[in-house]
């Protein structure tokens, strides 16, 4: 009996020491909780700007930026490299910094131009960050971003993260995880990163930054990114308003099926891209309602198909000619079909010479709510 009790006491004591919270426990109010990190480059100097959420009236030092009545403060550290910039930040911290709450990582275009790979490798090594954290590019100065507003005065990191997630849920963006970018860099693939901007001090997803050899080479605006999203997104949704039946007809278009067939003959790489869309007519202009007959629906479908085909072709040509980067992932389709040939070739050079044919089709219908025969 006595022996069993002794064992139990020893076991309980052991459990106390093994509990993670008992050894290095730190109260949440004794930490500076960061919600966003912005990396910027000005000339030879790199800077980190941290957004720190105020969780109590005494939290946050407020040095180096904005603050005021806001619920968050901003700190900036500058140095010749990433380590120096971080060191400069650490020298300003009145409490230990906690990075596990970071929801958005932002790089200015100046920093993304050359420093993205090093920053991502640094991020991968740092266990403090959430490994699923979103990364975005901005054109503006970090200072402008810190002045962004939102109705609930939430930390900007949260707003950006939520905006990206909402865009993904609505089928409007094709952002991926940070880990995917690291994998693309290591595999020497081109890729795109979500670009954000400010519209009347409000955060807005405004397009994609294009990368080649881990360096920023261009920008695709959201308005002209439909072709890109049809090639990359899982469930892209776009709305089109085209002339039809004497006015304009609006239809929602979803990607039904995407197939990329590579072929390789006499040293020539070719692809055949087949996209099937599902379009739903929603409404039209003019005071008269429907009817739409089979003939003008078919005419509208053909017109829509032409527009979609043109958008996809433009997206492919832009990647081959303007940015010379295979961010549309044709290389992956080719690698799967011709792994030996892919290994032997310089894909980045071969992609530019690849012949890519596209064919699109539209399966059109009218919204179930509408009686198209009503007059």
């Amino acid at each position: 009996m006595f022996k069993n009790r002794c064992k139990l006491i020893v076991l309980l004591l052991l459990i106390i020491f093994l509990l993670t919270g008992c050894w290095d426990a730190a109260d949440v109010s004794s930490l500076d909780l960061s919600t966003m990190v912005i990396l910027d480059r000005k000339g030879d100097e790199l800077s980190f700007t941290l957004e720190i959420a105020k969780i109590s009236s005494v939290s946050g030092s407020g040095e180096g930026g904005g603050g005021g009545g806001k619920k968050q403060t901003y700190l900036t550290g500058t140095g010749k490299d990433l380590a120096e910039a971080r060191h400069a930040l650490d020298m300003q911290m009145d409490k230990p910094l906690f990075l596990g709450t970071v929801r958005a990582l932002i790089l200015t275009e100046r920093a993304a131009a050359n420093d993205l790979a090093e920053y991502l490798f640094r991020l991968r090594e740092n266990q403090e960050y959430r490994q699923k954290v979103n990364i975005s590019i901005i054109q503006d100065d970090p200072q402008a971003l810190t002045e962004a507003e939102n109705e609930t005065d939430q930390p900007l990191g949260f707003v950006i993260d939520d905006t990206i997630h909402t865009g993904q849920a609505n089928g409007h963006t094709c952002a991926v995880t940070t880990e995917k970018y690291v994998n693309d860099i290591l595999a020497k693939r081109g890729f795109i990163i979500q670009h954000i901007g400010l519209a009347d001090k409000q955060i807005k997803l405004d397009g994609y930054s294009v990368f080649r050899d881990a360096k920023l080479v261009g920008f695709i605006s959201m308005e002209s990114s439909s072709g890109l999203s049809y090639m990359l997104s899982d469930q892209p949704i776009w709305v089109y308003r085209l002339p039809g039946d004497g006015g304009f007809i609006t239809a929602e278009v979803k990607l039904g099926h995407r197939e990329i067939k590579p072929s390789y003959h006499d040293g020539q790489v070719s692809f055949r891209v087949q996209l099937t869309f599902k379009a739903t007519i929603q409404y039209k202009t003019e005071v008269s309602l429907f009817p739409l007959n089979e003939q003008n629906i078919q005419q509208y479908s053909d017109d829509l198909n032409q527009v979609l085909a043109q958008e996809v072709r433009a997206a492919i040509e832009q990647s081959q000619n303007e940015f010379q980067s295979d961010y549309l992932e044709f290389g992956e389709a080719f690698r799967l079909a011709y792994p030996d040939e892919f290994e032997r070739m310089d894909w980045s050079a071969e992609y530019l010479k690849a012949i890519i044919e596209t064919s699109t089709s539209v399966d059109i219908s009218v919204s179930d709510k509408i009686d198209i025969e009503a007059s």
Binding site: Q127, K132, E179, L186
Partner: protein, 362 residues
């Protein structure tokens, strides 16, 4: 020793011992060697070790209720039995040091960067000691309980990864021109299946030998499939290039899971996955205790458990401090492992057959 383990317990013993640490590092190893055809290297190795385990089970079954040290006295005599026991003790000491170092390294790299490795080693050695002190039958039951939770959680986790990962990263599944690489990859998969020799300390009942042999064979094949599933889903989550860069690729892959209910999915590793790892090391500790108890049969079991723990922890801490020690262990263990898992049991079985000590299975 009259207690024996059931077939179900043998399944979990093999599963947890073999996958203890390797399941964390195997995606990294496979992505560097066999690439997208890694599943084939794993299955070939699984088949080889399934044959090895059949030899051990057949040998154990021929001597019901006995462990290797006891029946080897009848097969090759008392002196050779002692030599074999010393060999197995040295081998399991190396394995325990290797596993302890890796266990604390995983915890340090992934979860507790500030905690010194020696502290983790000492704390874990105490836990392993308490478990090992309970003896073979209790540990087998412990494996059964933890193993059930481990398998369910692991399969569910990797199924989610299968749904969320990028299938293209593990394609093409087979490519003829890469066949030599797949075959060479077997050499790097050996580590993943070492641990079957632990069965030498677990006596079998000797009843329905055929069923025991079939269970052991299928268990190792199942472990091969399990490894392949883990490797493929991890690479799908991380990407082939990234998987090559992570020592503990499984943990990094689990961190990538997007789950609205459980934000930190890697907590599952800290609980269930880590329990599996601890159980595996407990098995090795127990093997050390059992062989030491036979060598020093007059000594008190508690003294043997404590002594084994002290030696094991000291060796682990020394291995952590001396960098080349780990390299030596990594090069010696596969060879010593093949001797323990295949050569010794095969020779013993052959001699036993020649001497008419092994009857045909019923």
């Amino acid at each position: 020793m009259h207690s024996s383990v059931s077939n179900r317990q043998m399944f979990f013993l093999l599963l947890l011992t073999l996958t203890a640490y390797t399941v964390i590092s195997i995606p990294n190893v496979i992505s560097q060697t066999s690439g997208t055809g890694g599943w084939l290297s794993l299955m070939i190795t699984a088949f080889l070790f399934a044959v090895f385990v059949v030899v051990i089970v057949r040998l154990n079954s021929a001597f019901p209720g006995m462990m290797l040290f006891e029946y080897s006295q009848r097969i090759v005599g008392r002196i050779m039995a002692y030599v074999l026991a010393v060999y197995f003790i040295l081998y399991f000491l190396m394995i325990s040091a290797y596993l302890n170092v890796q266990l604390s390294a995983v915890l340090r790299a992934g979860f507790y960067p500030k905690t010194p490795q020696w502290a983790m080693t000492i704390a874990s050695a105490i836990v392993f000691g308490i478990v090992a002190h309970r003896g073979v039958a209790s540990v087998a039951r412990f494996f059964e309980v933890i193993g059930t939770i481990f398998v369910i959680t692991a399969v569910a986790t990797h199924f989610v990864m299968l749904l969320q990962g990028d299938l293209r990263e593990v394609q093409p599944f087979f490519h003829t021109s890469k066949l030599p690489e797949y075959l060479l990859g077997v050499k790097d998969c050996l580590f993943a299946f070492l641990g079957v020799e632990l069965l030498t300390i677990f006596p079998l009942s000797g009843k329905s030998i055929g069923r025991s042999v079939t269970t052991a064979f299928l268990t190792v094949l199942f472990i091969g499939i399990f490894y392949a599933f883990v490797v493929e889903t991890c690479i799908m989550m991380l990407g082939m290039q990234s998987a090559q860069n992570y020592n503990f690729a499984l943990i990094e892959a689990v961190k990538q899971i997007d789950n609205p209910v459980l934000e930190r999915f890697d907590i599952l590793f800290l609980t269930v996955g880590f329990a599996g790892l601890v159980t595996g090391v407990c098995g090795v500790y127990l093997a050390l205790v059992e062989y030491a108890a036979r060598l020093f049969h007059k000594a008190n079991r508690l003294a043997i458990v404590v002594g084994t723990g002290v030696v094991m922890a000291s060796l682990s801490i020394a291995t952590q401090s001396i960098k080349p020690a780990m390299t030596v262990l990594e090069s010696v263990i596969p060879i010593a492992g093949l001797v323990s898992a295949f050569l010794i049991p095969t020779i013993l079985l052959l001699i036993a057959k020649v001497r008419g000590l092994v009857q045909k299975p019923l």
